[in-house]
């Protein structure tokens, strides 16, 4: 969806300000939010693309004014409610009123190592690889109302395939609850002039990782 999370190329946000000796968390609740997200993911309550989509669906003003972990918390509440893991009344009351749904597994202290490991996104290939490194491609001009990983600044642009990363689960499909629908994944590199016009600095190149359905031959 075309919302404010898709920030590449926007102006006006100001300088990047780094904090010296930044701690992992700025308040204990931030750690709880991160850990809950990991635990619910491990349990199979939802996929990382559902978490991303839930954040993207926050009202733009909320997205921009909330802190990072506040966004995570708001998105998690929405996923919990929309997927029927708890009711709004329960979250408001701060207590469960009915037993939980059954989930595939539960993250317990003895398996925390597994909860910290990233799972693989490789999936069985569904068809032949359409592009190879060196091929010129044009990204599609798509504007789905649902989750996509093709950023606006790189739509309808010509680039060159640089790497193929194999066949991955397809976020656009996963976030819409339409299954893994595996797709070939490529690194596609663009010149800055292609993305930002003839006055752009010619020494800059930008790449995205693009799923095959985002690409046509060019």
């Amino acid at each position: 969806m075309d919302s404010v999370h898709d920030m590449g190329g926007m102006d006006g946000f100001g300088k990047v300000e780094a904090e010296v000796n930044e701690p992992p968390f700025h308040a204990p609740w931030e750690g709880r939010v991160l850990a809950m997200q990991r635990a619910m993911g491990y349990a199979g309550a939802w996929h990382i693309d559902h978490s991303r989509f839930a954040q993207e669906k926050l009202p733009p003003v909320t997205y921009l004014s909330a802190s990072y972990y506040q966004r995570w918390a708001l998105a998690m509440e929405n996923n919990v409610i929309e997927r029927g893991y708890a009711s709004p009344e329960e979250l408001k009351a701060g207590h469960a009123q009915t037993p939980g749904k059954s989930l595939p597994r539960k993250l317990t202290p003895d398996v925390v190592g597994a909860g910290l490991s990233r799972s693989s996104f490789y999936r069985q290939q569904q068809g032949p690889q359409k592009f190879k490194p060196g091929d010129r491609v044009r990204t599609r001009n798509i504007h789905p109302k649902t989750h996509t990983r093709l950023p606006r600044y790189a739509r309808d642009k010509v680039g060159v395939v640089e790497m193929c990363h194999g066949c991955h689960m397809y976020p656009d499909s996963v976030a819409a609850d339409r299954g893994d629908n595996p797709q070939w994944l490529y690194t596609v590199v663009f010149t800055s002039q292609e993305l930002w016009g003839p006055d752009a600095d010619p020494t800059i190149k930008i790449s995205i990782d693009a799923f095959e359905p985002y690409l046509d031959p060019a």
């Binding site: 190329g9 893991y85 979250l91 190149k205």
Partner: protein
């Protein structure tokens, strides 16, 4: 803290921020209680996850990988060919998932990593991303004005150096292999690792030079 006006603004901001936080704290606590009572999560596992990110999973993991690549040409070759496999062969950290790519800085090319759509970052090798990495200023500008962003970090590259920006739009994760600083011939891996800052592995910084080791900052 410059003048009176600034202090005043800052105070108001803190005050506002403080009351938002307490509402967030309450909501996060309610969410954790409900998810625990429903049987989905175990608070002791959350404690263990938080502890791991506070004490074990940080940029030192990546620094050790870079230092090894600086001293062992066979390892460097393996790292650039398949970073997942190379890092796994070191056995000092949890699995990186299947999708790590290392990109090498040279005198001709400087690499920089961003996630314009959310906050994708190689957690296993760099720990949790800093706030600036997840912020609107970085996400919006890195793909359009990377030299300007580097200026914010106090870095001015030669005008003819190619700047390559990698937007992490899928599950591939990138780590920059920075250039080994001059004057470090014969240094041990451990001593070299002290030169490798987090930002040098994101591409918004350079490794420390030997004279700077005593004043290492992020």
């Amino acid at each position: 803290m410059a003048g009176h006006d600034h202090d005043h603004d800052h105070h108001d901001h803190d005050h506002e921020h403080g009351s938002e936080l307490s509402e967030t704290q309450l909501r996060v606590r309610a969410l954790e209680t409900v998810l625990t009572e429903k049987g989905y999560i175990d608070p002791a596992a959350l404690d263990a996850i938080i502890e791991a990110y506070e004490t074990k999973i940080g940029p030192r993991n990546g620094s050790v990988v870079v230092a090894r690549a600086w001293t062992d040409p066979a390892f460097k070759k393996a790292l650039l060919e398949d970073a997942t496999k190379a890092v796994a062969s070191m056995g000092h950290m949890s699995r990186v998932g299947d999708h790590l790519v290392a990109v090498e800085n040279t005198s001709q090319r400087h690499n920089m990593i961003v996630c314009t759509l959310c906050s994708c970052y190689p957690w296993e090798v760099l720990g949790l991303p800093p706030v600036w990495y997840k912020s609107a200023p970085y996400r919006s500008r890195a793909v359009k004005d990377p030299r300007g962003v580097l200026n914010d970090f106090g870095i001015a590259l030669p005008k003819d150096t190619e700047v390559r920006v990698w937007d992490s739009t899928a599950e591939t994760r990138f780590i920059v292999l920075p250039m080994r600083p001059a004057g470090t011939e014969g240094w041990s891996e451990e001593k070299l690792a002290d030169l490798v800052t987090r930002d040098s592995m994101i591409g918004t910084g350079l490794p420390l030079n030997p004279a700077q080791t005593d004043s290492k900052v992020k």
